[in-house]
Amino acid sequence: MCECCNGKKDIYLPEMCTITKRRMLNGTELYMHLEKDSGEDYDYIPGQFVEVSVAGIGEAPISISSSPTQKGLELVVRNVGSLTKSIHKMEVGDKLGIRGPYGSTYPIESAKGKDLVFICGGIGLVPQRSFIRYAMDHRQDYGNITVLIGTKCHDMRLFREEIALWEERKDMVVMETIDEAHECWNGNVGVVTTLIPKIESDLPKSQVLVCGPPIMYKFVLMALEEANVPQENIFVNLERRMKCGVGKCGHCQINELYVCQDGPVFRYSDLANVPEAI
């Protein structure tokens, strides 16, 4: 902060954080746990994202994967470009800049008392995990919890040990599928929509939370329509190109909506007149 700015902070200035844990979840996705150097804890709501900064390379928006009921911040970073490549080379003790949290949130309050159905495609599991873990930590606040996880192939599965623990719990149902059969896999084979008919809870009355690659939305939303799920009960988690993360630079627009402010979590009924959304 400085005098010339009327006491307001610089919205482009990252805060330094240290990597306290890191491990590869598969060949391309890196899990990290971060803590702020200032000692303060993060204040966020499931669904939000942060801008991760490496000085000299740039920034990228990364969804928060942890629940605010835990200490610190968990992120999963895919190795796709120069910035994420540099993050993959980092070790415990290395530092990153973080701005945020930004964006809209999962309906953690309005969904109370209702059944939750999470439909996760590939790395779509990462942001959904924030609300899944939050719901598990506030279990009595929510009805039945069903988690559908679809992954392209066996090697790309994320959070394998954690999902195994979820599957053991009596208070939630977890169903997994992989697109392509694999000799190590005894479970469902097929895209994630093949699991939708197996949902036992009352789907039209549930809050359905969807996150996955662009191609997946079209088919999942068609299947949910066939299952008579009202559009206002469906929440989608969308991504676009981001630069500033604070609603100024214009890159993340979907028609008149800004993914960094009006999203990334959108109620599907709000996207009815937004042709660029899905």
Binding site: K9, Y12, L13, G247, C249, Q261
Partner: protein, 346 residues
């Protein structure tokens, strides 16, 4: 706050004094057969009778390239607040309206200290239009005149200017002018006549509806054939974005010094017409088709941005895109009028 009159000779002396003072002075000057905003070194170079500048004055509140942070590579960053104190001389009303809109957009929601700091340090001397440009349509957009945002407004009434000082900064500048007298009723009548005339003549392209109607029109026109027809000729060059006073989208990049130890994070103008504006890592382009990008710009001006600024239309009728467009397809009035011919609105 006060309305005065000063002769053109006395105003010129004032400009000379201003140039000699410790402030940066930027004013409109001739560049070959065009006009540009640039650093003023001589009061004789100032051309307040200009028709339109190549680039709008937005480059002084949102520079083409602006440092946001300095950093040690891989380490900590420090905020950089670059903000030249300057007097910006000769801003036309439509450009003033555009700056007022950007002031709202950069201060609402997350407050952008870089823009607002820079804006606070710019003193604006606006001037009513003397010479209509070839493609101006400000009268259709209700931006032929403007009554706020400037520190001083000058109106050319022949051998003098009527000088309206609207802020404390404006009054302070007025004190530097010799021979200032309170504006007589006749002077005010002349000013009124100039402004009323501009509301008629700054209309080389006539919009066939009130600008406030545009959001409603665009709600129904998303699938109209005009987008694809026009975009067939579009080069995606981004010239329209570059010269537009209300375009403010920007890219953010890091730059490292030769010593590989220090560097800066900067922002630079970007354009939604450019091919990779909406491309993400992994190469998926969320606005791949040219007609989608072409349509997006007109929708931003006529519907999306107005939604953020109380319905004010984000096209100020300067006509620069019409002049700058490589393929001559950018005329917003032509497009909006075409939509009106064939779109049913209730």
């Amino acid at each position: 706050m006060s309305v005065s009159t000063v002769t053109k000779e006395q105003f010129k002396s004032f400009v000379t004094a201003l140039i000699g003072s410790d402030q940066r002075v930027v004013g409109v000057q001739a560049k070959d057969d065009k006009f540009v905003f640039g650093d003023l070194n001589n009061a004789d170079d100032l051309r307040l009778d200009y028709d339109v500048t190549i680039l709008p004055p937005k480059k002084y509140v949102l520079p083409q390239k602006e440092t946001l942070l300095n950093f040690q590579v891989g380490g900590d960053s420090q905020s950089v607040q670059e903000a030249d104190k300057m007097v910006l001389l000769g801003v036309h009303p439509y450009d003033m309206v555009a700056i007022n809109q950007m002031d709202k957009l950069f201060s609402q929601g997350e407050y952008d200290t870089h823009y607002m700091n820079r804006r606070r340090n710019v003193t604006i001397i606006a001037c009513d239009v003397v010479t209509p440009s070839e493609n101006v349509f400000a009268a259709s957009m209700n931006t032929a005149t403007c009554d706020k945002g400037f520190d001083i407004l000058l109106t050319d009434i022949g051998d003098s200017y009527v000088v309206e000082a609207a802020t404390d900064k404006g009054e302070d500048l007025l004190k530097m002018m010799d021979g200032v007298r309170k504006a007589a009723a006749a002077d005010l009548d002349k000013r009124k006549a100039v402004q009323e005339k501009n509301r008629t003549v700054l209309d080389k392209h006539k919009l066939e509806c009130k600008p406030s109607f545009l959001p409603k029109l665009l709600e129904k026109a998303y699938e109209h054939s005009v987008w694809e027809e026009k975009a067939r000729l579009c080069y995606s060059c981004g010239s329209c974005n570059q010269v537009c006073p209300t375009c403010y989208c920007f890219d953010v990049q890091d730059e490292v010094e030769w010593d590989l130890k220090s560097g800066c994070r900067y922002r630079a103008w970007d354009g939604c017409l450019l091919q990779n504006f909406a491309t993400v890592a992994g190469d998926h382009n969320f606005r791949k088709k040219r007609e989608d990008r072409f349509r997006h710009r007109l929708y931003r001006k006529g519907k999306y941005v107005p939604g953020k600024i109380d319905g004010e239309i984000a096209c100020v009728g300067c006509g620069r895109c019409i002049t700058a467009c490589t393929a001559k397809i950018a005329n917003p009035v032509e497009i909006y009028n075409t939509l009106m011919e064939t779109t049913e609105i209730s």
